[in-house]
Symmetry: C2
């Protein structure tokens, strides 16, 4: 059994009020698989890059016990590239450049020895490609988590709805939950989205934490209040990767385990934003993670007699 | 010993997407003292109304064991009146009418038998009037909680800062914390505000809950996710009243007790928004409150092995 992560492996160039980077490695599958690897050592990725992608980073994946057999390297082509600039509030950003490159005709080929996949993380990508991955797995995974964004609601809603129908858990942010459901109240939005297929829904609220809906219950997880958010890029992917990595480690899919998975995912995401790109999450110790999780415990624990 | 609540006792006329009201009773001291009364039965108010204020509502106060000796009734004058209209998101509103009436020259007279006050709730009012109340108490209360709003930051900042310096705990919302501190990060904002006098700070984030800062610690309380917010008027005052009422009941001022006080205050506020004005919170049972508090427990509880 294994955890399969699909998504982009790419280059980002980021500008924040704290500084700017040249092209650095980013992408949903990059952040998610690195985060998952701290909890689960049979993580595998399916993604595509050009031959401009650094071998040294593939080594980083492998050092994290991430299987890169499904990482296609297209000779003579260039990796997906995104460049963006964050505003002072760090909550809004402008996209400066999007070069699809190899992503334009990405065919997600599943290596034969990936067919033992029991946990599937569909990182943000064209819903059509996400769906192809599900269809190419011979056995339906025990848990399929899907991340997506407003962009696909705008331009590929039918595909998106068809894919959402096939997954167990959807992660989107609050604005996207409102857009997808047409409801302002997040409770009403969640109830509506839970009729579209998924049994569980996570609404990500950035600095306000996250809400988990499912089994007729709601769980509210706080975000760690941070003095400084250095670079929010990849925080959502890191959260999702930490979440599913923890679920794969525990091995039983239920609401109670998902509550803890959200805390572990949030802890990983809180590291992610401390430095540019993957700089922080590529090199964490289990002790650092355990200490950060304890911060979440003290942050939200109270005892009513 | 007793709990003194100062603030407005007034009329509101409210329009929300769910309906509209004629003049109904509102005001910070109204909501706060009613909320406090569920936890503490020596609650007293200082406020001013005109002789248009209904005797029946004064009876409601007294039925809640709220001492109204300090409620001045000005013959031939009219009570403070506010009218507002909420937008569809229920988070923003337009003020339609503000008639100060008796509030214009409110002199907060403290009855002699209020001098046993150990807990003081300064509901939103001119900071100058809030300060006068502190100065007129012969003994400094064990705990002074102050609520205020951006309006006073705009037009009476010096008075506001002088009053803030005298209190133990300040409650404001996130936008106000940013305005008062000039810092975007709420952690930085809180650190700055805690140098202005108060030992504790509560940042109210509406549907995202509240943050408590003090003693070098942070507590994040969730808000109850609600399918419908019928009328948010008075929710902040209800929260503050429930908070200080619970603190007065417990009798020991520390961070740990404040965490529970925030949960009880949030529970009361979650009732407040279910109906117009005070309609819901004027008539709650202890059983209903206990059940609602348990909803907060299940909402936020997780156990990391």
């Amino acid at each position: 059994m294994s955890l399969l992560v699909i998504g982009t492996v790419a280059f980002d160039a980021i500008e924040t009020p704290f500084g700017k980077t040249d092209k650095i490695v980013g992408g949903a599958a990059t952040f998610a698989s690195l985060a998952a690897s701290y909890f689960y050592n049979k993580t595998k990725i399916v993604a595509v890059v050009g031959d401009d992608f650094p071998q040294s980073f593939i080594k980083d994946f492998n050092n994290h016990h991430i299987d890169t057999e499904g990482l296609q390297i297209k000779a003579g082509e260039k990796s997906f590239f995104w460049s963006g600039k964050y505003h002072n509030d760090m909550n809004t950003r402008d996209t400066l450049i999007t070069e699809l490159n190899v992503l334009a005709d990405f065919d997600p080929i599943i290596p034969e020895n990936y067919q033992d996949c029991e946990y599937l993380m569909l990182g943000n990508l064209t819903p059509q490609v996400q769906q192809t991955v599900i269809n190419r797995l011979k056995n339906r995974p025990k848990m399929i988590v899907m991340d997506t964004m407003n962009f696909w609601m705008d331009i590929a809603l039918d595909d998106l709805l068809a894919t959402i129908k096939m997954v167990d858990l959807l992660t989107i942010n609050d604005a996207e939950a409102r857009q997808l459901s047409g409801e302002y109240s997040l409770v009403k939005a969640a109830n509506k989205i839970l009729t579209m297929g998924p049994k569980y829904l996570i609404i990500k609220k950035g600095e306000h934490g996250a809400l988990l809906f499912g089994e007729g219950k709601i769980f509210a997880a706080p975000a760690l209040p941070l003095a400084e958010v250095f670079d929010p890029t990849g925080a959502g992917d890191t959260f999702a990767g930490g979440f599913i990595g923890y679920m794969a480690k525990i091995g039983t899919v239920n609401f109670n385990n998902m509550k803890n998975a959200i805390i572990f995912g949030s802890a990983l995401a809180s590291f992610c934003v401390e430095k540019f790109g993957t700089e922080k999450i590529v090199n964490l110790s289990q002790e650092e993670i355990a200490a950060r999780v304890q911060e979440f415990v003290s942050l939200s624990k109270f005892e009513i007699a």
